[in-house]
Symmetry: C2
Subunit: 301 residues, 2 copies
């Protein structure tokens, strides 16, 4: 998986701080996660091909997470896009977008599919043979979902020498790749593990923004490879975090620790802070492996 941070600051866009948007590349997909104002410019800066974005996931309807979407839809149109675009987000998003297109007489010639969300249970948004995307219900001032991207287990790898020796017909290779035991030409049962090696462990990415400290989400993201968790405030502003239903760096680290994730990435910083190092310091007291999101930064895992 490759994660590109297009913007990781809360609230107002500035010259050098962009509101939330990120791109996750996994299994041939380019998923756009949130789309604050100016996202299309950030996509261009990172040279991400617009036509490869087929799915957009919007966490909630605060402007810093979606005000860039309608402009992106318009730009796709101007660029002659033909591929359908799937937009997953809270109920109401469709009305917002279509009202603006209608009043601008700016209908798209490509298909726009809205998948609107209102349930507070995790739901499956996308699935193909390689990956699933589910919502992670969060606890914010308005209805909000995070998103959990999970690779499916890959195929087991055939150990060619062992297979020849065991005298297994080619017709059984697919079965072996899927982990089943097979019978060889002599009628003997061959244990799968004796002629294959396991696929690499499937990776997963959990995106949790925006949310108050919400331990209920831990079960769903347990053992995720990477967790991006909002940390709008430092602990010294915990009162503000509580009031605005955001998280402190320390609390984000608590979630990472409880969920035993591989790696924590912090983001969604309030623009009041100039030294992001303090977020890392605060979180590292609780959790061993903390990285800081920065606009334009890429993470491969």
């Amino acid at each position: 998986m490759k994660l590109t941070i297009l913007g990781c600051y809360s609230a107002t866009p500035r010259h050098d701080t962009h509101p939330t948007a990120q791109v996750l590349e996994v299994a041939g997909h380019i998923f756009l996660i949130d789309c604050g104002e100016g996202t299309q410019v950030q996509l261009r800066r990172k040279k991400i091909r617009f036509s490869r974005i087929k799915h957009v996931f919007i966490s909630h309807l605060h402007g810093d997470h979606y005000y860039g979407l309608v402009g992106l839809i318009g730009t796709f149109q101007l660029l002659g896009r033909e591929a359908p675009l799937h937009i997953h987000g809270p109920k109401g998003l469709k009305d917002i977008i279509l009202l603006q297109l209608k009043l601008g007489k700016s209908y798209t010639s490509y298909a726009l599919h809205f998948h609107e969300l209102e349930t507070r249970e995790p739901v499956l948004l996308f699935e193909d043979e390689k990956v699933t995307v589910m919502t992670i219900p969060l606890d914010h001032r308005i209805y909000t979902n995070g998103f959990l991207f999970r690779e499916k287990p890959g195929l087991r790898k055939l150990t060619i020498d062992a297979i020849r020796e065991a005298n297994i017909d080619q017709a059984y290779f697919k079965k072996l790749q899927h982990g089943f035991d097979v019978v060889n030409e002599e009628g003997t049962l061959i244990k799968n593990e004796s002629v294959t090696t396991g696929p690499p462990k499937p990776k997963s990415y959990a995106y949790c923004s925006d949310t108050a400290y919400f331990p209920q989400l831990v079960a769903q993201i347990k053992h995720a490879t990477v967790l991006y968790h909002e940390a709008t405030f430092l602990s010294k502003h915990e009162d503000l975090a509580q009031k605005t239903k955001h998280t402190t760096a320390k609390q984000a680290a608590e979630i990472a620790k409880q969920a035993e994730v591989g790696q924590l990435i912090l983001g969604h910083y309030s623009t009041r802070y100039t030294d992001l190092g303090l977020f890392k310091e605060e979180a590292e007291v609780i959790f061993r492996s903390v990285l800081l999101a920065e606009d334009g930064k890429e993470f491969a895992f």
Copy 2:
């Protein structure tokens, strides 16, 4: 008057080209004219104090002219604005903004006043003792207005020596400033021009974007000090201009010539062109005084 171009390109925002927005400073006001995506960042770059913007004028509901407005409204709120904001624009704009604020539960604590437009006749949008703002009906694919900003004539200046000599009582000074003749202490009629000098000629600024070539607007902008006229295309793409109801540089110059304006500023360039000098060259064949808008550029007049 001082005009600051925040963005002067059509269609899609890019790293180095911003969609339409400009600020006109006149008679103590800071008027924001159009508000494409990213306008709030451009305002910060130009160090324009957000709190001084009390009126926003939106020409039409194509995204490159207003997608930045809802974000700006949200930022005003985050910054603790208290002053009311007046938004002048086509019918429908209020629904768009309020739907987004409602779904984000992001109501403003300052008053938002929408002044929605649907008439195709010029209407007065704002007036105080020093300035008026009127719509300029334009001809585009959707309902569109330009805006005409006009200083009112100032007060005449008293010639102190002449007034003393004419023996005029102080009680009449205001009358003199307003151009009236007065009677002196001896009962003699004193002609205004003999004891005052005229105020400087009032200035005016006409903003015309977006529009097809539309000579009907000439009468309304006659003798404007400065005309900003869209020139999306060069003449070699006149077919495109016609099809999309935009103007070529040559046609914009025709309007300037017919209206006998003092100065023409071109803008709203299609991003297909890399050499803006060609716009100036093309327009200067028709009209003597042509300037090119550029993002961030300021014009004083």
